[in-house]
């Protein structure tokens, strides 16, 4: 149950649809934990706490139904999990890693998750992202940190053309850039009639005098 006092970064947005081509929505309040440690120290505790295998190859994520672990660097991972699960995972991991050099930070509120699915989403994202999104090169359980327009994101392929009817991507973005990213994606979806979105904050900036 989400505490009703919480407001997600894209609470002011409704999901957007562009036929079967693309659907954009916020998957709010997902739990996200940033973990820094040596892989040799982290693998076992991670397995114990989350049941996931530590991905040690760049560009990969270990996907589970409730929990995904994304490789972000040689000593850096992100755990993306269910709402309200982050604090517990962070605490347990931190405890398990206590003997070693490590850093575990709950960054659930730092970020939000956008989901993008549909037959045209690779094409849509290619308008904004320079990594190779071809199904040969970016399939289920691939995940990277990259740039989407001016926003830094983590992009994870949850489903691809083989595993599902249509691909499904998750995009993790910092909260203050979420609305910009939302509007940027909506703009890229215009080709498939995704409704245009006006970014928030289009206010006059300076008061004369």
């Amino acid at each position: 149950m989400i505490d009703e006092r919480r407001v997600s970064p894209l609470a002011h947005r409704e999901p957007l649809h562009a036929g079967d081509f693309a659907h954009l929505a916020e998957d709010a309040f997902r739990g996200i934990v940033s973990v820094r440690a040596a892989p040799i120290h982290l693998a076992a505790p991670l397995q114990a706490v989350t049941g996931r295998t530590l991905p040690i190859r760049a560009g990969h994520a270990d996907l589970g139904r409730r929990c995904a672990v994304l490789w972000l660097g040689p000593d850096e991972w992100a755990i993306i999990t269910a709402p309200d699960a982050a604090a517990g995972i962070a605490q347990d991991l931190s405890q398990a890693l206590a003997p070693y050099h490590h850093q575990v930070v709950d960054v659930s509120d730092y970020n939000t998750v956008l989901t993008l699915r549909g037959s045209a989403v690779r094409e849509l994202l290619a308008k904004l992202i320079t990594i190779d999104l071809h199904p040969r090169h970016f399939t289920r359980s691939n995940g990277v940190a990259t740039l989407c327009g001016k926003a830094q994101i983590w992009l994870i392929c949850r489903e691809d053309e083989k595993s599902a009817r249509e691909p499904l991507f998750e995009i993790v973005v910092r909260r203050s850039m979420a609305d910009y990213l939302w509007c940027l994606i909506a703009d890229a979806g215009r080709e498939w009639a995704m409704p245009p979105q006006e970014p928030i904050g289009q206010v006059p900036l300076h008061m004369p005098g």
Binding site: V7, S8, Q103, A151, Y180, D187, A188, V203, L205
Partner: protein, 1011 residues
């Protein structure tokens, strides 16, 4: 829909071409309505209607028609549309596809295309040679400023739109194994072969239809792989359509070739459609392609000949004439002369003849054209003049006649003969289109036999094929294309299956291409009357190039720049080799030694909109908002942007102006409680056993003894010793810190920490993670803040005695986790409350609600600036500008003595250690009501001097202080720390300097002293 063919205009053939005669299209040019067909360009439709004169040239305003039929055409530039927001200028009529309702207009002429006052330049041409402007207008002062506007008005081609563009543009990123540019026989063969391997192939075709010159030539008995060329083209396209990993882009030109096989392709998505049919597509798209291998099948460009009078409407490239005939079903003239130095152009004579045009003559500068051609001419009864040249032409808005005469190396030898004509097809031979190859870094070499530059050594993974590589036969194009496509795919790790069907015969329908260069043809006319154009857009003549050489601008780049040769919107596509040929003649040097000018991208002009893509307007740069943003908007906030963040500056109440709101907010903070949204402060979680050592090296002050639970202010300097950020860092545990940075510095500081950790001190065990946006922050301050705080926290004792200044605590507010820091940027008792960001709006509302009894008042960044100035705290970026040390800022106490830190060594350099550097002080004006404008300069004297007044400092911050009831200012003054109490003056433009007294920076301390 009726399939009844529409009435054909005078020059339209009844059949042939890629036009649909069942789909007539009405359009207008220069206010007159015409009819064309689907598949036409504006140029082909105008030619079908007998219109040749469509434009005026850049400098002399000479009439211009269609010299080329595609992107190479230099002169036929028009304006499309008249709407101030959507009109497009300088469009090449040969590339504008016709659509219903298209309105085109001539440009660069006044009052009309027919009667253009600018023609006066042409009449004066003998006084306006290349570079004439360098030699005059520099007389008395201001003379250039007087003449320049006239010159400007005469230049410039079309006008700019006057309203913002409503269109959308896009970028599209793509990776592929093989990128093929150009879809003529070579390109199609390459793309097909690569596609068969399963590799990702992008085939980019500049025009609306694939095939290249397949559709621009008569098929004759030519074969490609055993098929008639057009049938072969259709079959290849069908096959390509079946490969899922082939992207075929028409109306897409490769515009730039950059490092590591990254290319930009410019796609026109909707310009060829009536606005009502554009749908949701962007107007243009810029494809940003990373290709493992590139095959350049960009063909070749025919050159005109350089002879007297070579620039009249009705004079066109021989290949263009064939394009009009075969691709557009347009006969460009009734009575044609062909003038060439090569065999290829003869085909134009035959093809024109075969659709009923009269061929008045074929003139070849050579004595020995292909025998097959001579026979074919004889069979058709076409008169032929060999070893001859055109010495003059006639006809203002369309060619009327030519004068032809025999010539040899010494000049014109025979008596000129006049031949009437309404079309002159010229050909100076073909130049491989090496622009992209050259952009890719590849070198060129001069090929004597082809009289042209051809690709030499490649510097990237690129292969030119077909005419682009100087291979002009169909057989070479197709086999070269096949091999290049196969090899490219293989190099990218894809091998075609062995079932590749054997290809049938490929052969040309014409004799092999032979050319004998003729760069500058003689005339019997007086030299002063000869005008042989080399650049038809910029009006550069051979004489101009002679002049350039005579004046010492013989280096090819000097000649180009002095005469502006090849610098027009056509990028000199038909110019380059001719100009070099003319120069070689004047300088008497082989062409290969002259060199070429640089091919600068883009291949042809592309819209700014496409280059910027989506990232304009509201999506230009992001506006970041805090969790409390909605409340600020609903409560009268006026915003400013700091580091992309929208921050509330003040909250205006009804009827209140900015200054009144500011003063009210500050009074509340001093007398009751103020609350500030401080969420944007940078926050970094720092953890590891060496975290403390690390901080000690990063900050200028000491960190080894900070206890858990305590906070400390720190300054960061760069290696030059100059302050670049500051903030408070809290010790959460012996190996765990929470650092704060300035809003604008957050990303920079984290990057700085990572850089030093990873590259200088990787041995230190420390990790850094940004938590800036994990926490929403509300900072409450003021004398009644402790009372509200006591109400607020579930489990933190808020009493300032037990929760002292510069300490922190973790606890809860109504069960919501909170980190609270007792730090102050205003001088008042403060609690900086951090909660998970999703609770930010709730926290703010809770504070407003529970703080109401204590008079809580939100204040914005303006109030924060004023309150901290009263206390004498600096703002990095306002007081500092990258040139100030901690000592300069009066924070020598923050320079630790016993350990190194980044930049410490710089502080003892002779200049950095001077004591008369600019130093931060307070200023009080003699007139307490006068608020000094920020940025004012400080002078020692009471009067400004002439011609210059020495400055001793400047004002960085200045406000009317509600607390002191007078103006205050912070300033940087040379040696200021030693000048307390001294009187200085603040200079003002247009008024007397204002006297002020140097004080300390903490104005509140002054207040307490006084009270």
């Amino acid at each position: 829909m009726s399939a009844q063919p529409a009435r054909l205009s005078q020059n339209r053939l009844s059949q042939g071409g890629l036009i649909d005669r069942t789909q007539p299209i009405t359009f207008s040019f220069d206010g007159k309505r015409y009819q064309g067909f689907a598949g036409d360009t504006l140029a082909s439709a105008l030619l079908a209607n007998g219109v040749h004169h469509v434009a005026r040239s850049f400098k002399y305003h000479r009439p211009r028609g269609f010299m080329g039929a595609g992107p190479e055409d230099p002169g036929a530039l028009v304006r499309i549309g008249s709407d101030p927001a959507t009109m497009v200028v300088n469009q090449r009529a040969t590339e504008v596809e016709l659509h219903e309702g298209l309105e085109a207009f001539p440009q660069n002429c006044w009052p009309s295309l027919r009667f253009d006052i600018g023609v006066v330049n042409d009449l004066m041409h003998r006084f306006l040679p290349a570079g004439f402007y360098y030699k005059t207008f520099m007389g008395p002062p201001g003379s250039w400023m007087f003449f320049e506007p006239f010159i400007r008005r005469a230049a410039g081609l079309g006008p700019a739109p006057s309203a913002p563009d409503p269109a959308r543009y896009e970028h599209m990123n793509r990776h592929c194994e093989v990128l093929v540019i150009g879809s003529g026989p070579a390109g199609l063969a390459a793309a097909r072969q690569a596609a068969r391997s399963g590799a990702r192939v992008i085939l980019a075709e500049e025009s609306a239809a694939c095939g290249g010159r397949i559709f621009a030539e008569a098929e004759g008995d030519a074969l490609i792989e055993g098929l008639a060329p057009r049938a072969w083209c259709t079959r290849v396209l069908e096959e390509l359509a079946d490969h899922p990993d082939v992207t075929l882009l028409t109306r897409t030109s490769a515009s730039g070739y950059y490092a590591q096989n990254w290319l930009t392709l410019f796609e026109n998505c909707t310009d060829h459609l009536p606005p009502s049919q554009a749908g949701n597509l962007p107007r243009h798209r810029l494809w940003r392609v990373r290709a493992q291998q590139v095959v350049l099948a960009t063909g070749a460009i025919e050159r005109p000949l350089v002879f007297n009078g070579n620039d009249r409407p009705g004079i066109m490239l021989a290949s263009a004439a064939r394009t009009w005939l075969h691709r557009y079903g347009v006969r460009p003239g009734e009575n044609a002369v062909i003038f060439a130095n090569n065999d290829d152009a003869w085909r134009s004579a035959f093809d024109l003849h075969d659709v009923g045009a009269r061929i008045a003559a074929i003139i070849d500068t050579r004595p020995d054209p292909a025998p097959a051609h001579r026979e074919a001419a004889q069979a058709r009864g076409i008169p032929v003049r060999l070893g001859a040249t055109i010495v003059a032409t006639r006809g203002r808005r369309r060619i009327r006649s030519i004068d032809v005469a025999a010539f040899d190396a010494g000049g014109v030898t025979g008596k000129p003969e006049r031949i009437a004509c309404d079309l002159l097809c010229v050909s100076g031979g073909w130049s491989p289109n090496v622009a992209l190859f050259s952009q890719s870094g590849g070198s060129l070499r001069h090929d004597e036999a082809l009289a042209s530059f051809v690709p030499d050594e490649a510097r990237q993974e690129v292969v030119p094929v077909g005419a682009c590589a100087g291979a002009f036969s169909l057989e070479e194009a197709v086999s070269g294309g096949r091999e290049a496509g196969r090899a490219a795919a293989q190099a990218a790790g894809f091998v075609a299956s062995a079932t590749d069907p054997a290809a049938g015969e490929t052969r040309d329908g014409a004799p092999p291409y032979r050319v004998a260069p003729a760069w500058e043809l003689p005339s019997n006319r007086p030299k002063s009357r000869i005008r042989a154009f080399v650049d038809h857009q910029n009006d550069v003549t051979a004489k101009d190039l002679h002049l350039a050489v005579r004046e010492g601008y013989g280096a090819v780049e000097h000649a180009k720049r002095y005469t502006t040769t090849g610098m027009g919107t056509d990028q000199g596509k038909t110019v380059g080799v001719n100009a070099i040929g003319v120069l070689s003649g004047v300088l008497d040097k082989p062409i290969g030694e002259i060199g070429v000018t640089t091919f600068r991208p883009p291949w042809k002009p592309i819209s700014f909109g496409a280059v910027a893509g989506q990232h304009v307007g509201a999506l230009f740069h992001p506006r970041r908002t805090t969790a409390m943003h909605d409340w600020h908007v609903a409560n009268g906030a006026v915003f400013e942007i700091v580091g992309d963040w929208l921050r509330a500056r003040v909250y205006r109440q009804p009827g209140e102006d900015f200054e009144a709101a500011l003063q009210r907010e500050c009074r509340a903070a001093r007398n009751a409680i103020g609350v500030l949204d401080a969420s944007t402060l940078g926050k970094i979680d720092i953890r590891g056993k060496d975290a403390r050592v690390f901080l000690n090296r990063i900050y200028s002050n000491a960190w080894m003894k900070l206890e858990p639970g305590r906070c400390r202010y720190g300054l960061m300097t760069n290696e030059d010793g100059m302050v670049f950020d500051d903030g408070v860092t809290a010790c959460l545990g012996d190996d765990h810190f929470h650092m704060t940075t300035t809003t604008g510095g957050a990303a920079r500081v984290l990057a700085w920490l990572e850089e030093y950790h990873q590259t200088e001190w990787p041995d230190l065990e420390v990790f850094m993670t940004s938590v800036t946006e994990q926490w929403a922050v509300a900072s409450i301050c003021g004398p009644r803040a402790p009372e509200l705080a006591a109400d607020l926290f579930d489990d933190i004792d808020a009493d300032p005695e037990r929760f002292p200044f510069m300490s922190h605590a973790s606890g809860h507010i109504d069960g919501v986790p909170a980190r609270v820091f007792r730090v102050s940027f205003t001088g008042e008792i403060s609690y900086e409350i951090n909660v998970p960001a999703s609770y930010g709006l709730w926290l703010w509302r809770t504070l407003m609600e529970r703080g109401a009894p204590y008079g809580i008042t939100p204040y914005g960044t303006e109030g924060m600036h004023l309150l901290r100035a009263e206390k004498g705290f600096i703002i990095v970026g306002q007081e500092t500008d990258g040139t100030l040390t901690p000592v300069d800022l009066g924070m020598g106490w923050a320079v630790k003595k016993n350990a190194d830190f980044i930049g410490k060594r710089s502080l003892t350099r002779s200049d950095t250690a001077r004591d008369d550097r600019l130093q931060l002080v307070g200023l009080l004006t003699a007139d307490p009501a006068f608020v000094i404008p920020e940025g004012s300069q400080i002078i020692a004297s009471a009067r400004e001097q002439s011609p210059r007044t020495p400055m001793i400092g400047h004002v960085t911050s200045s406000y009317f202080s509600p607390t002191l009831g007078r103006s205050i200012a912070l300033a940087l003054v040379a040696g200021g720390h030693g000048r307390m109490g001294e009187r200085i003056h603040v200079a003002r433009a247009g008024a007397d300097p204002v006297p002020a007294t140097i004080t300390g920076t903490d104005f509140l301390a002054g207040l307490k002293d006084a009270s």
